[in-house]
């Protein structure tokens, strides 16, 4: 799987390259600035890009802007954005083109190597990987809305795992229940939130986020 890496801190860049290589990713290019990142993304069209939000030359949200711009030129280009902090504003901007195949994770999540690698794979496969912090904030805000308060605690758990972009199997594994039970919870959630059923993992996350977005 071909990866383009955008990260300006040498230490972290080398660490990420080593980690990705260990899991059989092919790092085709590692760049350290916004403009270089945009060029690399458009030139290589990698299977997935791993991008730091804050990059030179402005050291603000250069990486995020480059990623969004690259997705405009190459629709559906899978991008996993890493950041020292999560900001709903940025999560929305990433999700706004509704193309899926995006991720937005705190940098600390790289320390849980297995989960991090599975998040990269999920994004490369067209899914989403939203940081639990984003989901928590969305759910906390959603709490003031009526339909969400009707969810049982277990259903809320399932909803947030679902919003992170996990499959039914993964959710079942996490919560120590059967996949069938998870499917039932999801059906209940969609019923309570008045969302149409869909088989597609990516679409259902977008549906959930779109719903939360509206609140």
């Amino acid at each position: 799987m071909r990866v383009v890496l955008g990260e300006d801190l040498v230490l972290l860049r080398d660490g990420l390259i080593r980690l990705l290589k260990a899991y059989d990713f092919d790092v085709v290019e590692a760049v350290d600035s916004g403009p270089a990142l945009l060029k690399a993304l458009v030139d290589h069209r990698p299977d997935v890009a791993v991008v730091d939000v804050r990059l030179p030359p402005t050291f603000t949200d250069e990486g995020l802007r480059a990623a969004i711009e690259a997705r405009k030129r190459v629709p559906g280009l899978p991008v996993l954005v890493l950041s020292q902090y999560v900001e709903q504003l940025y999560a929305r901007e990433l999700l706004s083109d509704r193309g899926g195949a995006v991720g937005y994770l705190l940098k600390d999540r790289v320390s849980d190597v297995k989960q991090f690698v599975s998040a990269i794979r999920r994004v490369a496969g067209g899914g989403t990987a939203m940081d639990p912090e984003v989901i928590d904030q969305l759910l906390a805000r959603g709490a003031r809305d009526q339909p969400l308060t009707t969810l049982t605690p277990r259903e809320r758990e399932v909803l947030s795992l679902m919003a992170e972009g996990r499959s039914n199997g993964a959710i079942a594994g996490r919560l120590f229940v059967t996949e069938k039970a998870v499917g039932k919870h999801i059906a209940n959630i969609f019923g309570k939130l008045d969302l149409p059923m869909s088989e597609d993992d990516n679409r259902r996350v977008l549906a959930v986020l779109a719903y939360l977005d509206r609140v």
């Binding site: 504003l89 705190l106 906390a140 003031r144």
Partner: protein, 425 residues
């Protein structure tokens, strides 16, 4: 000018002249304050002068205060009182402040000047009006008895019977011209003597600046202490634990791989927590989104994270300087926190504009109102934060609501256009 206007203007001028004359006794009476005040100074030595001085100074300050208010009405400019405030309420401190305040002595100097100018400005216009009328009446008087002289003119020459009314017209024109000017002249003299001088204004400004600087320095020091404490108790301690766990894992790796694995997992958790704490700390110092996107993005992000729906309406043609931007952001953040905590509101709004070199921020909610700045409270903290930039805070919060908090900060915008949209968060 119609006849009606002419009559009205004449009436206004006659009233003005009458009032000017009516003021003259007060101007003269003011002279009495000079010996009253001066005599108390030697009496201070026998203590009895202390209350006397306080009473008489208060009297004279009321007296000059009256002229200050009158002159600001006439000139339509605000005339602030120039007096120094004593450092405490002790009588001796107050006497010392009064005695060393240049404004006290300028008040004293004002009294004789006011007496002269006030009498002149009060009597002259009335004199002109009377002489004007007399010019017409004089020929009639002359017909009756001839020994009355009217402004160097008498009945001796027949031509004077025509000349007197002409002279009267001249006097009326002079009176018309002089009446409003006399009042203005008096007011201008009063202002030049009673308004704070350039030195007093500067002294005042220096005091305000010294106060706000002291507040700023205090706040900065407290902030640094908080950061130091947070780092020491939080991230630093966790990193030490992390090193400890890693060291032990290294040690155990060969002998007991399972235990080593547990320790490594623990170490990873510590590092995550240390990062979370550092992240919170950074947000408290300077929110990254503020650095990235300026006030626009930062306030929208704030609204998104707020438990209530907050409508952000922001129209800025650029970015304020970083320190002002930061102060404005934290002021809004603190106010919105208050809204969430105390107001009982169901929604809130933020409006930001920049006009005439001032950044104005308004935060409103539909809560129960009754917000008041208490000492050491959040609102007072915001006020101090804004004062460092010469900014002001206003709170309109009637009991029963709604509450509107307004802030103003003088600042220039850099030319970059950030955004001009509005949205609901």
């Amino acid at each position: 000018m119609t006849d009606h206007d002419l009559v009205r203007a004449a009436r206004t001028r006659l009233t003005q002249a009458g009032l000017g004359l009516a003021r003259t006794p007060l101007c003269v009476a003011g002279l009495a304050l000079i010996p009253l005040q001066l005599h108390t100074y030697p009496l201070i030595l026998v203590t009895v002068g202390v209350p006397l001085l306080l009473v008489f100074t208060a009297l004279s300050r009321h007296y000059t205060g009256f002229y200050r208010r009158w002159a600001s009405r006439v000139l339509e400019v605000e005339i602030p009182a120039p007096y120094r405030t004593p450092a405490n309420r002790g009588p001796m401190t107050r006497v010392r402040t009064i005695a060393t305040d240049p404004a006290t002595w300028r008040d004293l100097a004002f009294l004789p000047v006011n007496a002269i100018v006030g009498v002149l400005c009060g009597v002259l216009p009335v004199g002109f009006w009377i002489n004007g009328v007399l010019g017409f009446v004089m020929p009639v008087i002359w017909l009756d008895r001839g020994d009355v002289e009217y402004v160097l003119v008498d009945r001796d020459t027949p031509g004077n019977f025509v000349f007197a009314p002409l002279l009267g017209i001249a006097f009326l024109v002079l009176a018309w011209w002089a009446t409003p000017r006399a009042a203005r002249l008096h007011a201008t003299v009063a202002r030049s003597m009673l308004a704070p001088g350039a030195t007093a204004a500067l002294t005042d400004r220096v005091r305000v600046l010294a106060d706000s600087r002291a507040d700023t320095v205090d706040a900065q020091a407290a902030e640094l202490r908080r950061i130091e404490r947070d780092l020491h108790d939080g991230a630093q301690a966790r990193l030490v634990a992390l090193g400890l766990n890693l060291g032990m894992a290294e040690e155990l790796l060969a002998r007991d791989p399972r235990a080593a694995q547990e320790l490594l997992a623990e170490a990873r958790q510590s590092s995550t927590q240390a990062l979370a704490e550092l992240r919170d700390l950074v947000r408290g110092i300077h929110p990254p989104v503020l650095a990235d996107r300026g006030l626009d993005g930062a306030l929208r992000a704030l609204a998104l994270a707020h438990p209530l729906p907050v409508e952000v309406d922001l129209d800025l043609a650029g970015r304020p300087e970083a320190p002002v931007e930061s102060a404005a952001y934290f002021a809004v953040a603190e106010t919105l926190t208050n809204v969430a905590k105390h107001s009982g509101a169901t929604d809130a709004w933020v409006r930001v504009r920049h006009d005439d070199g001032r950044l104005s921020l308004m935060i409103g909610d539909n809560g129960r109102g009754g917000a008041e700045p208490s000492e050491n409270g959040g609102l007072r903290g915001i006020e101090r934060r804004l004062a460092a930039f010469d900014g002001t805070l206003g709170i309109a919060s009637p009991v029963g609501g709604p509450t509107i908090v307004t802030m103003e900060l003088p600042c220039e915008l850099s030319s970059v256009k950030t955004s001009s949209s509005s949205g609901t968060g």
